[in-house]
């Protein structure tokens, strides 16, 4: 029993701590319309953790994906998905829509 507590206590603490600060994080928005990201280039500060809200205005599902950023999340039609990112090093990070990679392309510019 003590073993269980030993392993779960730090996890629970970390969980509590991480959800506590989540509300104060800066937010950035991306909109998907006609399978195109708007804006296609999004500027965010380096070294800061932030929330990215991806809103899909299309009638079809999309998957927000970035192999550079190691993120993948389904965004259902006419709804939003939330992805936590960072803190990131300065640089350019590509993202795309996995279901429409021909048109849904964009870059995160971290500076």
């Amino acid at each position: 029993m003590r073993h269980v507590l030993f392993f779960t206590a730090p996890v629970l603490l970390a969980l509590a701590a991480s959800t506590a600060v989540a509300r104060d994080l800066p937010e950035y928005k991306l909109v998907i319309k006609n399978h195109i990201y708007q804006p296609s280039e999004l500027k965010v500060p380096a070294g800061v953790k932030f929330k990215l809200i991806v809103h899909n205005e299309d009638a079809t599902p999309e998957e927000f994906e970035s192999t550079d950023l190691n993120r993948e999340k389904i965004v259902l039609p006419k709804s939003s998905s939330l992805v936590y990112l960072g803190p990131l090093r300065a640089g350019h990070y590509k993202f795309f829509g996995d279901f429409h990679p021909d048109t849904a392309q964009g870059r995160l510019i971290v500076e």
Binding site: S18, T19, E62, D68, I74, F99
Partner: protein, 287 residues
């Protein structure tokens, strides 16, 4: 049609590689084919359910439902693989004096069949639910039935072909080393899946990242490349992992290696087991 084929191929490839490793690792087990088929069937049914319930999952846990679901499913697969690998090391050695490696594999039938069913179902479910949502979108988007079915057939066919290639490639490994190799592949596969679970937990802000970009080897091999993606599935390669991913990977690897050795050593033969003193509680709890 090619766009459809490409996406379906990438998803099917992920599932196919996992399925072929598990199939190779359970070589010689009786009724194996039935369990693989059942696992694929369950996975497809599960994928349809998950796709239909995507809205529900998305809204769960203030928007982090997808991440929780993925992490849970992945960690369940890790436990299943871990159980099999540790169990296998015990019974593989126990019977090594009397039987060849295939014979010992037959004896571990129960653990192997559960592993097969669960891991195959999970792999198909995870990738399949994405394919279902994608196809649904394509169908709404007005792609013709011919283009859609053609693309799906091409994608599934080529993905499955890759899986078969890996499977038959593995079968060429000499029998003496065969299960050693497949067991190690399972260990690395499980470690990689644990790391992916950690990635989802960080993405959903459910656990701290412990360093969001610990290192960056994308100049050498990026996650997006075919080789990077393949290695990502097989051994958990990640060009710029978070600290937490590294911790999950290393912990799984360590636990399985130690588990394999301890359990393997703990039961050399029935005779010496009777003579030996009572085992200490820590090794006992491992069983």
């Amino acid at each position: 049609m090619l766009g459809v084929a490409l996406l379906v191929f990438r998803e099917v490839m992920e599932a196919a590689l996992i399925v072929s490793i598990v199939c190779a690792a359970t070589r010689g087990v009786a009724r194996r084919g039935w369990f693989v088929t059942a696992g694929i069937g369950l996975g497809v049914a599960g994928a349809l359910l998950v796709a239909m319930g995507a809205d529900l999952i998305a809204r769960f846990a203030s928007g982090s439902g997808q991440e929780i679901f993925n992490a849970c499913v992945l960690l369940f697969a890790v436990v299943m693989i871990g159980w099999h690998v540790v169990w296998m090391s015990k019974h593989g050695r126990e019977s090594a004096q009397h039987m060849d490696a295939i014979g010992s594999a037959v004896r571990v039938g129960s653990s192997s069949l559960t592993l097969l069913l669960a891991v195959v179902a999970i792999a198909v479910l995870r990738e399949g639910s994405e394919v279902v949502l994608f196809i649904y979108g394509m169908a709404i988007g007005g792609i013709g039935a011919a283009g859609l079915t053609g693309g799906i057939a091409l994608g599934v066919g080529s993905g499955a072909l890759l899986g078969f290639a890996l499977y038959f490639g593995l079968l060429r490994i000499p029998m003496k080393h065969f299960f050693k190799v497949t067991n190690w592949m399972l260990v690395l596969l499980a470690s990689g899946l644990a790391s992916t679970a950690a990635r989802f937990l960080v993405q959903g802000n459910l656990l701290p990242s412990w360093g969001s970009q610990v290192w960056d080897t994308s100049w050498l091999l990026s996650n997006g490349s075919l080789a990077g993606q393949t290695l990502g599935i097989l051994i958990g390669y990640d060009a710029s992992p978070t600290g937490l991913q590294f911790v999950f990977y290393a912990t799984t690897l360590l636990l399985l290696v130690v588990g394999m050795q301890r359990v393997g050593r703990a039961s050399p033969s029935p005779a010496s087991r009777m003579r030996s003193q009572p085992p200490d509680p820590t090794t006992e709890s491992l069983r």
